[in-house]
Amino acid sequence: MTAAALAYESLDPNQSGFRRRDVPPELAALNITKRFGSLTALEDVSFRLRPGSVHALLGENGAGKSTLVKCILGYYRADSGEVQLGGRTITPKSPREARRHGIGMVFQHFTLVENMTVAENLVLARAELPARIDWAKQHREIEAFMDTTPFRVPVHKPVRKLAAGEKQKLEIIKQLYLGSRIVILDEPSSVLTPDEADEVLGLLREMAHAGAVSVVLITHKFREVQQFADDVTVLRRGTLAGTGTTAELDAQRLAEMMVGAELPSTAVARVERAAGDTLLEVENLRANDDLGAPILRDVSFSVRAGEIVGIAGVSGNGQDELVEVLAGQRAASGGSVRVRGCEYRASRAELHTHGVRLLPEAPLANACIAEMSVAENIGLRSFDRAPFSWLGFLKKGAIRKRARSLVREFKVRTPSVDTPIGALSGGNVQRAVLSRELTGNVTLLIAANPCFGLDFAATSDIRQRILNARNEGAAVLLVSADLEEIFALSDRILVMSEGRIVHAVDIAEANLAEIGRHMAGHGSDPPSAP
């Protein structure tokens, strides 16, 4: 049996008890400052993880949460300050060294090898492997080890067949298996359903309170902080905004700390208007994933002029593939898509004549050519038409002039329109793409996670522009993994699960708990039959 497996002593398997005689050592980061060039990502931030507790690191995107843990883990070297473990200063130079100190991190993007089994993934993560691996013995040991934790994942299953929740559990098991006493979780609910996240966090908190581990939870969700954390540290723009126990800090107080005095609102102005003609009709749409397995199963819905239809769902349930089919990046295997009553196959000509515009997720990869300039990227939809081209020759002057005026109008912060777009920040890339997609006649706008990874200001700006398009009569299809965004923008909400639309509701009657249930695939009504 491995050393790690012996570390947890099961008190009573029926109560899933796990207690160690010794609690994990206290982890403290003291006065950490980290600069990247001229940018100060963290300034004089301290944070203390009590043994056997769950400590939330709360903050906006870009507040410095991940920079802080990366300094602790040895990804980055802090410019000043120190990390202490059990009162002794440690200076891990790599995540592997941090692991030797018993500190491990569970990432948002799983670090598992998809084509290998659960057992293979666990075994190969170990520092020392025997030259010949006795799988029967390994399987026994791993199962015995899992019995000492509250988590359980089938050991023979290839990882690619696991659900997101199981992968997250496996990542946590892996950290425990490697002997981590301090587990850092990076935004677990971004890849899990609310129920899955609750289960995982609940079990981890149980382990922490039993003294088996200490947990750092990186999040921007108040609900998780209040439900699962004992202590919370709030970061804002790289500085410490406050810290305390969750008992003494309520949501209102946390929100003030998180966003500061200015409290920029992401609430957007909505004009009440009746929806118009049906502009997008999707009927019994089917498509396969990259391995040829069905991922869209008879998806049907429609979007009318002047309404925003939001598609909610846990990522990986077919939303990406739906957007890819509508964008022409993936072939449908059945069904039909009609725009303004005409058959639609996402050709360049159809996109143009019907005014279909796209805001795909990860715009730098899906909607831009990173090496080309801002002006050229803004001109991608129109460079081959008058007045931007003449007899097949580009009129660069006209393209740049138009780009300059759009950059001003959409407040894209760029040194010049000749800068390669890949050099811009995420928010500014998204603004540049918006300026291209929302100019001219917009009949149908398809947006996928348009504000993912952007700060408050960029988020509210971009949401307002999407809403303006709707107010001016465009039909908008919004696919988002962020429920708050879905609720803020949509007129109608559809829930997608396992490649089907399983729930449809008007915003006025929408209920968060019910939508969460449908997202998890536990809806009360059967999957919608076409």
Binding site: P95, R96, T111, L112, V113, E114, N115, M116, E120, V123, L124, A125, A127, L129, P130, A131, R132, I133, W135, R160, N288, D289, D290, L291, G292, A331
Partner: protein, 310 residues
């Protein structure tokens, strides 16, 4: 046409195909096993055609000089290791594409072999002995079909052994991790480039040995037309075998049998379309690629890094 062939009638055809499968398949088998190791580590070595020809030349030359064909086999393996390691090293440099390097090595290997092998066209070197598995029969065709080479038997053992090693050894797990998810492998502290370099060198050894079979057993001489693209076909064969060493064995036998179809039909008097039947392995390659590939999906068995690096 011989009297015995007439006596056997059309039974001579499957027998000759079987004999061909056992004889012609060995170079396919060794090259595809080698490429299998390389591709499981997440890299493609298209240069194995060059390695094969280099191995044939080196094996023949050393066998001629020392009088020992087995030393020739060793030399062929060593030549393959050098070419494989060179490919592996170059591809480990930043911004180097393994396909481009592979094509360069294919041309370089064959060119170098022809250059160095010029003096070897005339002399005759000692050949590898045959093992007579047909001792129980008096039918000459069957005897001929079952007269196999020790290398073929080595290959038959090697295929399941490699499969076992990929699953059950630290070495195998390491190669697969690097081939499936280089980032995860790096996070676990593996040196991705080093693993791939070693995997490519190991693949080169096997391909070189496959080449020595060509010059030292069948057809058993050195000339510039020795390999007719077996090295390249073996790369396609790995895809057909879905990156599994044991399936590489079956696929090699299938290709070997297809290669023997033309001569077999000729031996029973069907001469019409002789060249067409000789093209069977090439047609088979094309057919397999068309059938086994898809525009819309990736094979689940394909090492993920092969998709990612393109």
């Amino acid at each position: 046409m011989s009297a015995e062939a007439e006596a056997l009638g059309t039974w001579g055809v499957p027998l000759a195909v079987l004999g061909g499968a056992l004889r012609v398949s060995t170079p396919f088998l060794f090259v595809s096993l080698g490429e299998c190791i390389t591709e499981r580590s997440g890299r493609v070595n298209l240069g194995l055609e060059g390695t094969l020809v280099m191995g044939a030349m080196a094996g023949y030359g050393i066998s001629y000089l020392t009088g020992s064909p087995w030393l020739g086999v060793l030399a062929a393996g060593a030549a393959g290791a050098v070419l494989g390691a060179a490919h592996g090293y170059l591809c480990g440099r930043p911004r180097v594409n393994d396909i481009a390097v592979g094509i360069a090595f294919m041309l370089f290997g064959t060119g170098l072999a022809f250059f160095l092998g010029k003096p070897l066209v005339q002399p005759s070197a000692p050949r590898l002995p045959a093992i007579d598995l047909g001792f129980f029969t008096d039918v000459p065709q069957l005897k001929a079909a079952l007269s196999v080479n020790a290398l073929f038997l080595v290959g038959i053992v090697l295929a399941p052994l490699l499969r076992w090693m990929l699953k059950n050894t630290r070495w195998g797990l390491m190669v697969r991790t690097v081939g499936e998810n280089a980032d995860a492998a790096r996070a676990m502290g593996y040196d991705v480039n080093r693993v791939r370099l070693l995997a490519t060198a190991a693949g080169g050894v096997l391909a070189g040995i496959g080449g020595s079979f060509l010059s030292l057993f069948y057809p058993g001489s050195w000339n510039e037309g020795l390999s007719s693209g077996q090295g390249l076909m073996a790369v396609a064969l790995v895809i057909f075998a879905r990156w599994d060493p044991v399936r590489c064995l079956w696929a090699s036998l299938l290709f070997g049998g297809a290669g023997a179809l033309g001569p077999a039909l000729q031996s029973v008097g069907i001469t019409q379309g002789y060249y067409l039947f000789n093209a069977a392995p090439y047609a088979l390659t094309l057919l397999i690629m068309v059938v086994s590939s898809s525009a819309t999906r990736n094979s689940a068995d394909m090492p993920a890094e092969l998709v990612r690096s393109r």
